[in-house]
């Protein structure tokens, strides 16, 4: 797209997009490290994750203030309006991803030992890989203004949901077999839920990227596959 007559407007939009990308990077890193802390029982790493969430929050506030200033100064229209509203929502989602990562890190400290079951760890890691992949792809779609890629992210969320459902079943089985693991299993269950919600945030971001690029709403035809209610 060609430049604005007022070039400072383009600079502001670029700065905004850069900050969103930076938030995305921080959220990804926090999430990956939180799960790594959880799986390996590394409480130092978990504490660092908790600490670093402040940076993401500060950046979020910075982005919000910048967006409001742009609305006041530029009265954005069309594509610009969509970019700015999308950026605001995406920044919210990323901030939430950070909070969820922080929560996983807190639980990693609470559990304070390795996940007893290798099988469970594999399940959590696999789900994390998928959700993290979703987050990466959607951030690339945002940077590349790629509506098709955003659509794929939305479609792939079902996979994350499916793994969450199977983890849920597995954890239930463990708790029924041995009541002594209930505390750690409940923590794990919340962690799994948090990871699943990170996938949901990636989907939200995908919908916003799609709208930002095309001006159309992404049809929400996929049915939610959280079957834990039926277990």
């Amino acid at each position: 797209m060609s430049e604005h007559t007022v070039t400072a407007y383009d600079d502001e939009l670029n700065v905004m997009a850069g900050r969103i990308a930076e938030m995305g990077g921080l959220a990804e890193k926090a999430f990956a490290e939180a799960v790594s802390a959880l799986v390996s029982g590394d409480t130092d790493l978990a504490r660092r994750v908790i600490d670093q969430d402040r940076r993401l929050d500060a950046l979020h506030q910075d982005v919000e203030e910048g967006l409001i200033a742009m609305i006041v100064r530029r009265q954005p229209m069309g594509q610009d309006l969509r970019e700015i509203t999308a950026a605001s929502r995406i920044a919210n989602d990323l901030e939430r991803v950070g909070d969820l990562a922080k929560n996983v890190a807190k639980r990693a400290i609470a559990i304070d030992n390795d996940i007893q079951s290798k099988k469970l760890a594999i399940g959590v890691e696999h789900m994390t890989e998928l959700a993290l992949g979703q987050l990466k792809k959607v951030l690339d779609a945002y940077t590349g203004r790629d509506a098709e890629a955003a659509r794929h992210v939305q479609e792939a969320d079902a996979e994350v949901d499916a793994i969450y459902t199977s983890l849920f079943r597995e954890l239930l089985t463990y708790m029924m077999e041995d009541p002594r693991v209930i505390t750690s299993c409940v923590h794990l269950l919340f962690c799994a839920k948090n990871i699943e919600r990170i996938g949901d945030h990636a989907t939200n971001i995908a919908e916003n990227v799609f709208f930002m690029v095309t001006g159309e709403r992404l049809p929400e035809d996929r049915t939610k596959v959280d079957e834990t209610g039926a277990v």
């Binding site: 797209m1 604005h4 007559t5 954005p76 229209m77 969509r82």
Partner: protein, 265 residues
Amino acid sequence: MNDMPKIEQATDMTDSKISANKVQVYYGDTHAIKDVDIEIQPRSVTAFIGPSGCGKSTFLRTINRMNDTLDICRVKGSIQIDGEDIYDPKVDPVQLRAKVGMVFQKPNPFPKSIYDNVAYGPRIHGLARNRAELDDIVASSLQKAGLWEEAKDRLDEPGTGMSGGQQQRLCIARAIAVSPEVILMDEPCSALDPIATAKVEELIDELRENYTIVIVTHSMQQAARVSQRTAFFHLGILVEEGPTQDIFTNPVDKRTQDYITGRFG
């Protein structure tokens, strides 16, 4: 603004108040308006936007044949109001302009009293049989223009002594006094401060119930605020026309997009 465009979209396009077909306007050798087709809905506000010299005011003036007053100006194609061709030789332009009123960029009250400014049209068109009827028309026109409270105690004072915003509402009252069906507004707020602008915009929104309004504006925010449909002109061409919300959030044409986002070279 959210649901209004949807109502407009549902409006049957055959119910147009104004229907323009292949309209061309020439100023001497200059082809100022090219092939403009547009359907304008009754009892709604349609905004014309576009850069200076794009033809939006020229096209607006074809709707009440204001261009007739320029010798070098020729209009081709057809413009119908309620299915009647307004360029038919049988149409009296003076009667047409009573039906299609106009408000200009700079408030231009007559150098007469506030009362006479509003009474002028009804008098020449013979709309009142006696002074009492004329008083009624003046009062109700000033009321509809939201000026009654400010003007009722100074009807004998000159219209030119009012503030700019009041003068513009006086001009709107003057247009309303001859019971028009269509009101054309050519940048009606560009000489007004934000408060006076807000009052005129509020008035436009009220008038929409009874009149078909077409407004030319350079302020896209104004177009977004007051209109249900927006038409974008560029280089004499009607580039795009549609529900206002669509034009400002997701226009179809690249030129519209560039214009509304401030990217015109």
